[in-house]
């Protein structure tokens, strides 16, 4: 294919990605070093106390936002270096807490709390999703043909349901005296409140994520299983391989590229965990990195959005995912290089 034709075909897609992904990224990077704030000015004013005969008047000064002719607050944007980052990360408090080995204090800083949760969440759900997806694919592949359709349909439900709604429905089952909380209480004989402490909330969030992501892994693995070379499986059997060995040494190596693919997608998706925080409404106890940025962006009570801090926290979030993905990217890189 000539370069010109190639360029014409790719242009719309590349252009969209440039305008809506690359440019905003650069802007956010720039933004994270600046801060826009109202211009403050010192206003002198006289206050008099009413009195008989002699009024006592004194002149005071106060600092208030400057207004322009139209009565709007005048804004100015200053270069503040890494101050926005410092606001998010709070390095001083971080070091003192770290030196004092004070975990609870350390977790008081939103950023570190969010980072701790996001990483735990990502790495605990990853093997569970892969394992459950593979187990489901193998089990459905064993099923008689007529039953496969309905089972696949039910299996896909958690995957297609809107994440916020899925998380909400799990919340409704557990919140307060929800039906499953009551079932758990009956089973354990103790009083259970799933939304009162963070570890149960985190457990629910991970449960939700595995519930909703495993079907995706399942569809991919199931599709992959359709292509397993039956001759290779039989050859392995004639050589005396047990069922487990056939799975371990024939089927899984065949599925390996798909396992890497699903792991890659899951890493990306789990790292930006957000919908669970909204759906399960856990922000009081547990927040994620992406929620932190979202929280900065939402207007506060006075209607201000702290865009600069959001920029800093989103740059940090991005650096995190790039570090996580480097090993995966290198593998894909080698794969694609080998093919090209």
């Amino acid at each position: 294919m000539k370069f010109k034709t190639f360029a014409a075909f790719v242009a719309p897609s590349v252009l969209m990605m440039l305008i809506f992904i690359a440019v905003p990224l650069l802007l956010v990077f720039g933004e994270s070093f600046y801060r826009t704030s109202p211009v403050m000015e010192v206003v002198e004013f006289e206050s008099c106390t009413p009195g008989f005969g002699t009024q006592t008047c004194k002149t005071d000064t106060k600092i208030s936002p400057a207004l322009d002719a139209a009565g709007k607050v005048v804004l100015q944007t200053d270069f503040v270096g890494i101050e926005n980052y410092a606001d998010v990360v709070e390095p001083q408090k971080f070091w003192t807490d770290l030196k004092a080995l004070d975990w609870a204090q350390l977790m008081d800083i939103d950023f570190w709390r969010a980072l701790r949760f996001t990483l735990t969440f990502t790495f605990i759900t990853l093997p569970l999703v892969l394992g459950l997806g593979l187990a489901l694919a193998l089990a459905v592949n064993n099923l008689t043909r007529s039953l496969r359709g309905p089972v696949i349909f039910i299996t896909l439900l958690p995957f297609i349901i809107t994440p916020v709604i899925g998380a909400l429905s799990i919340r409704w089952l557990f919140v307060g005296e929800g039906i499953l909380t009551r079932a758990l209480e009956a089973l354990s004989g103790t009083d259970i409140a799933m939304f009162a402490q963070s570890w149960t909330i985190e457990l629910l969030m991970m449960f939700y994520r595995v519930w909703s992501s495993a079907p995706f892994a399942f569809v991919i693995f199931y599709a992959g299983l359709q292509g397993v070379n039956q001759d290779a499986v039989e050859a392995a059997m004639i050589d005396g391989a047990s069922r487990w060995q056939r799975l371990r040494f024939v089927v899984i190596p065949y599925l390996m590229p798909l396992i890497v693919f699903v792991a890659l997608i899951h890493l990306m998706d789990a790292y930006r965990v957000f919908d669970e925080v909204v759906g399960l409404r856990t922000q009081g106890h547990v927040i994620s990195l992406q929620y932190l940025t979202y929280d900065f962006l939402m207007p506060d009570d006075a209607g201000n959005r702290s865009v600069s801090r959001a920029a800093a926290s989103s740059m940090l979030t991005m650096i995190g995912i790039v570090i996580l993905l480097i090993p995966m990217l290198r593998r894909t890189w080698a794969d694609q290089k080998g093919r090209a």
């Binding site: 190639f6 349909f153 909400l168 962006l297």
Partner: protein, 383 residues
């Protein structure tokens, strides 16, 4: 494919595997089933302490809202008929009645007609007939059920407005994603150049970006776009904040990396000989793509389109930050319901809204399930 005798599995393994699947299906379906049940009960039943009361709804029944055995049979029949038509007949009809180059449109129309038909039958045609038969035969109601929360959500709270907004955004995202994505995917699959390789790797990195990072970039621009664009566009400069079109563009861009990777692997599986044959016959590259390759690409386009649909329909983060209240889509709008969740009735209404959002997806999977699995088997998974 017949399984050879030697590969047949011992009974214990089959039982374990069947038990595992049964358990999984229960876990997968239960939350959705349960909120559906809750949404058709009066609050007293929906939050009752015994699961049986939630299921059968004695308080709802006592309030005079219930189904007779005939009603239950009719609704089950309707559900079954819808599922039957969706899975067996719709694919055939679409294949028969739509010309191959507008087949995606055919699917859309079919899904919309099916959904509309279900709503019409279930809520407009059947109820009066059933009421008439029930009173004629004097059948007693046995199962508490009310649709009042759905009416409150859709009619009183104008949820249909949000539904239309959702449809606008979702269909826009799907259509533009696929148009732009197939072009790029095709070129990337057919070109082995360094540039193609780099585009793919960079797209992969873009796929990983948390969406909040991007929204942080758009938000100040979109809010001030009227001022920023004035030098170029004059007074016609729009404020992009709150515009569905702007959100569509953003979601398409966010979706592009996944779309081009997926479509590229589908195109990989179509032999390049096919384009060469067309080229020898005098087609340009674009003609070969449009008239020779695209007609055999539909499984890939449908599978990828479904993922785009899900992304547009399910998005919360982008739509909640970039759209104002008048253009709000369904998913962020439900936040309005649960923020007001003070009385029990409000809670059940929130649940009814949640079920309403899920229903179209349910229908979608029913229709497309075979295409997803066979599409993935045929294409994406091998690339």
């Amino acid at each position: 494919m017949a399984v050879s005798r030697a590969l047949r599995q011992p009974l214990s393994l089959r039982v374990t595997s069947a038990a595992f699947l049964t358990l999984w299906c229960l876990i997968a379906a239960f939350p959705i089933f349960w909120i559906t049940v809750m949404s058709v009960k009066l609050p007293l039943d929906a939050f009752a302490s015994s699961p049986w009361e939630v299921l059968f709804g004695p308080a709802t029944l006592a309030a005079g809202k219930g189904l007779t055995l005939l009603d239950i049979a009719a609704s089950l029949g309707l559900l079954w008929a819808t599922a039957w038509v969706a899975m067996r007949h719709v694919p055939l009809w679409v294949a028969r009645f739509t010309p191959p180059n507008v087949i995606a449109l055919g699917w859309l129309v079919a899904a919309a007609v099916l959904g509309l038909g279900f709503v019409l039958m279930g809520f407009v045609i059947l109820p009066p007939i059933l009421i008439w038969i029930n009173s004629a035969l004097g059948l007693p109601a046995v199962l508490g059920l009310t649709t009042q929360h759905y009416r409150a959500v859709w009619v009183e709270n104008a949820f249909w407005h949000n539904f239309l907004n959702s449809m606008k955004v979702t269909l826009g995202v799907t259509a533009i994603s696929l148009t732009v994505g197939t072009l790029a995917g095709y070129a990337l699959a057919r070109s082995g150049s360094k540039l193609a390789f780099w585009i793919l790797i960079i797209a992969l990195v873009f796929r990983a970006l948390p969406h909040s990072v991007l929204v942080t970039g758009y938000l100040p621009l979109f809010i001030n776009s009227a001022v920023l664009l004035r030098p170029i566009l004059g007074d016609a400069a729009p404020t992009l904040y709150g515009q569905p079109l702007a959100v569509i563009a953003v979601l398409v861009a966010i979706n592009q990396p996944f779309t081009i990777w997926m479509l590229r692997s589908f195109f990989h599986n179509i032999p390049a000989d096919l384009d060469e044959a067309a080229r020898v016959d005098g087609c340009t590259h674009f003609q070969a793509f449009r008239w020779v390759i695209m007609p055999v690409m539909w499984p890939g386009v449908i599978t990828t389109g479904l993922f785009s649909f899900l992304l547009g329909y399910n998005d919360y983060l982008v739509t909640s930050l970039l759209l104002d209240a008048s253009n709000q889509t369904m998913v962020p709008a439900i936040a309005g319901f649960f923020n007001r969740e003070t009385t029990m009735t409000d809670q059940v209404e929130a649940i009814a809204a949640a079920v309403s959002i899920t229903a179209p997806l349910f229908l979608l999977v029913m229709v497309f399930q075979r295409q997803i699995v066979s599409g993935l088997t045929a294409g994406a998974v091998k690339g």
